[in-house]
Symmetry: C2
Subunit: 247 residues, 2 copies
């Protein structure tokens, strides 16, 4: 038995998200079907992060077990030849049998792209959140120290889900302009993320940028640990799973 | 009679190009139909550059005549509400009746994006030319002085078309890395472009970057003024009409 690790890029626009579903195409389902065709046995893959519909990945990681002796480079070429063009395999590696894409992950980095300009964009419609307001970047940046370190992110979790703990450790969080006119990127690295956490944070940070919330309100919201007080999540198309880091 | 100037952004992926055709959706056709619905009369628009299928625009310019008294801001809002999401109106201005989007243009800027990395990209599949080789940027840059100034670009025109003159003046041409891993951008500003000129230049520049042509070969190719000697054009999805400049 061998354990294979995949690093995957995808454009999430046309998928119902990572997790296999009966009602439509998903990243996991498409990968499993394609792997099964190549390897001639049923394949079950585990992903590092279950991205939602419309969310993209530059470096999603998944693993699966196989008895096939196909070398990693050939498997990568076969996958890239057979997968739809909005999915691409960046790397294939044989790893220790104990490696688990989700549980072995030490850190993950997501970024969220916000396009701040008066009119909507044709090119970026599926790749950023269009916000038709000027954003006060300094006010948004003033919130970042409060989400760094070990914190309780209960205010920024998904409504209606119960997780064992809502405490996560954020190692780094930055907001900067990228060289596309009006484009702002919020990037965050943590030991784990609650469902909707990045989109909820991005939604609140944009409120601060718009002047509809102060950085003090943001801190109060975080301290309240009550999801019902937070603004709605930012839409999925701005979110990218950038990287999953292992030991 | 009023003359209206539009600045338009579009994702060319799902269009047969700028020019109206009977067989499928085009940018001009979609704009004309939408304008006709809003203004209640047939509209004929002229574009500054006739982009090909799959080519994008950040700042295409077009103009049309109308008897409507609808103010530019309202027209822009109506267009952005009714146009497909892969087209967006950036600006609407009333201009002098003599303004002609194509003939009044003094300069145009195009850029061409090349993604140089070992594996194909899911995110950039429709927005850059994937080249699975390392490119020697210095060799590519060494070609640029030879295409600047007033030159005969006969070697880089479209095959099978005859234009009055193949002489154009290039005001600026640059090659640089943009902050996406492996992404290279060739940008060129000229008083006009032959059909396929930017894609033919990009195709030859990539050959130089790959070491399959030397900068000296590139100069010889330019001097030969013979399209049949040039490498094939770069594919459309890397090309963007960035800006059209008027007096």
């Amino acid at each position: 038995m061998r354990n294979i690790k995949l690093t995957i890029e995808y454009d999430g626009t046309n998928y119902l998200g990572w997790q296999r579903q009966k009602v439509g195409p998903t990243i996991q389902g498409t990968l499993e079907e394609t792997l099964s065709r190549i390897l001639n046995h049923r394949v079950h893959i585990r992903g590092a992060g279950r991205t939602d519909a419309g969310v993209h990945a530059l470096g999603q990681v998944a693993n699966f077990k196989t008895t096939s002796s196909l070398d990693p480079a050939s498997l990568g070429r076969a996958l890239n030849a057979l997968l739809p063009r909005d999915m691409a395999i960046i790397k294939v590696e044989e790893v220790d049998l104990k490696f688990h894409a989700q549980f072995s992950a030490k850190k993950k980095t997501y970024f969220y792209q916000i396009l701040s300009r008066p009119v909507r964009s044709a090119i970026w419609r599926n790749y950023a959140w269009w916000v038709p307001d000027r954003l006060d970047l300094e006010a948004m940046k003033a919130c970042l120290p409060y989400i760094q370190g070990r914190r309780d992110f209960a205010s920024f979790r998904n409504t209606g889900t119960s997780t064992r703990t809502t405490v996560r450790t954020v190692f780094e969080a930055t907001i900067k302009r990228v060289p596309v006119a009006g484009m702002i990127r919020f990037e965050i690295t943590a030991d784990g993320f609650l469902r909707y956490m990045v989109r909820n944070l991005a939604g609140a940070l944009v409120r601060v940028g718009q002047g509809r919330m102060s950085p003090e309100d943001f801190v109060q919201l975080l301290d309240a640990r009550d999801r019902s007080l937070a603004p709605p999540p930012a839409p999925p198309q701005g979110l990218y799973l950038k990287e999953v880091i292992y030991d």
